[in-house]
Amino acid sequence: MSVAAGFRADVLATPAEIVAEIKPGATVGIGGLMNTCHPMPLVRELIRQGIGDLHVVGLASGLEVDMLIAAGLVQRVSTPTVSAETIQAIAPAFRRAAQAGEIEVWECDEGMIYAALQAAAQRVSFAPWPVGMGASYPEVNDGMELIESPYTGRPVIAIRAIPVDFAFIHCARSDPFGNIQVNGGGFGDRAMARAARRVFATVDRLVGNHEIRRDPQSTAIPGVDAVVHAPYGSHPFASPGHYIHDEAHLREYLAAGNALLRDNDRGPVEAYFDRWVRGPESHFDYLEAVGIAQVCGLDEGLHYHDLALVPGEAE
């Protein structure tokens, strides 16, 4: 963007501009949690540009990381799970690649990944975590040494820092200057952002700076490096306060991933990528491919009482 002298510069960018910064072998953190809140225009752009050998860091990853694995772009994952939760507990490409030894898995739980990110944020080499002794974690991982507290002599695990080169997050809204606001708790995205050298966000709504100033208490991250205007940017996953996940679409991807897992057949995954990733040239082309009625039909307010029984209908 060009800005006249004396004016505040916005940080708006396209996915292509952001991903042009990412080099093969980078450590890329992806925010959100399982079926909710992933920065999909950036994930799809990574696949489009084929940026490989990635170390992907997640806070309890969903199928967005599975797609990167299915595309052959991941060398290592550090995340407490790769899961579509109740839709399918173990993501298919993750399961296949881990079983085949094609990816390294840094085994951890949420406490451990947050310790690793906190150490990175503090620019120290490790953080202690008093849990995991007696379990397999120190044995199957590098970066989890059992040490003694210098103060009590009690054992703790020294969790090695995971410095994140680029954090990709999806959020409810931002102004053009990257002041990020969330609906709900924001998962662990703040921790991911604190550990990262560069932070990029896709946002459902781009609002004026005055709207941020009206409610500064809701600002979760006071200035990311770039913002992508991406309504429904977490689709097919949910975005709190905006829309629920698109279960049929997630199942379409899972069917393709399961063909890769069970039959070693790449055809369906490639067909999924052709249709949903390589085909649409922009995020707005992607939304047109999904269809306006389909995508707007996911709005949260339409689905609040899907599961509540109407009195009298109970058996």
């Binding site: 806070l59 899961s83 709190p240 009195p311």
Partner: protein, 267 residues
């Protein structure tokens, strides 16, 4: 084996009731990912005898004792379940929080051994090329370590799950046994309390902390438990029958908490 229709309840409904009856008022409880038995157990206790419980639901803290019909969504991240929020949960600060950790937790497992050590990592000899890559621990290592007590609910009761030795251990129970096993390791928290299977309830014997048969579900036998368990079970002289779901428990489960019938589907 009797069916849900003949019994009048699904086995996972019974499992939720058993765990629910062990909860007390005033507890604060995380609802973990993908363990419907645990979610139902917590809400059942909250509604029946825990008006002062605090529940972490939809990544928010809430008290919903006055809600008539909850209609719980299956995923732990579903923001629709945060509509009763008193406080939104920011996960990195919640985990680093002495005061606000869960008092209890419910987990599932790919494998569990006699001391209640369990595995969500995978199956096989090598972590680099496991025979089955598991889902991973999500938050269960820290949650089961810090909480006062936890419950294990494996999906089936077979020798492949109830094993002499887990291929990997994600949540530590009583490690290699003995009442001081956890403090010797330096672990905080109180350890596993019950393992509630589709056949029976195990607790842990005071001295050895090995699994002991506490009750057998209606329609099942002690021999069936022994035959389907891959390690030696401590069997007391008298083994009572597990109390089946009470009418008020079943009504609340079906009309208010598990309206989608996930427990009846065994999900």
């Amino acid at each position: 084996m009797s069916t849900t229709m003949e019994r009048g309840y699904a086995i996972d409904e019974l499992r939720a009731c058993v765990i629910s009856r062990d909860f007390v008022d005033g507890e604060r409880v995380f609802l973990g990912a993908n363990v419907n038995i645990g979610r139902a157990a917590v809400l059942l206790a909250h509604r029946l005898r825990g008006p002062n419980m605090k529940i972490m639901l939809g990544l928010s803290w809430t008290n919903m004792v006055d809600e008539r019909s909850v209609g719980l969504h299956p995923d732990s991240t579903d923001f629709r379940d945060a509509r009763w929020a008193e406080c939104y949960v920011n996960l990195d600060t919640m985990i680093n929080s002495y005061r606000f950790f869960s008092t209890t937790f419910v987990i599932s497992a790919l494998q569990v051994d006699r001391f209640g050590n369990s595995n969500l990592i995978g199956l096989g000899d090598s972590h680099k090329t496991p025979r089955l890559r598991g889902p991973g621990a999500i938050g269960s290592v820290s949650s089961t370590a810090y909480c006062d007590r936890f419950y294990i609910t494996p999906p089936r009761h077979v020798k492949e799950i109830f094993v002499e030795r887990c291929d990997f251990i994600s949540s530590v129970g009583w490690h290699q046994g003995g009442a001081t096993a956890r403090t010797d390791l330096g672990l905080p928290g109180g350890g596993p309390r019950f393992c509630v299977t589709p056949l029976c309830v195990f607790d842990f014997e005071d001295e050895t902390k090995a699994m002991r048969l506490r009750s057998v579900h209606p329609g099942h036998t002690v021999d069936e438990v022994i035959e389907n368990t891959g390690f030696e079970v401590i069997v007391p002289d008298e083994v009572p029958e597990t109390e089946p779901p009470r009418p008020e428990e079943l009504e609340l489960l079906r009309k208010s908490i598990d309206t989608r019938g996930l427990l009846r589907e065994g999900r």
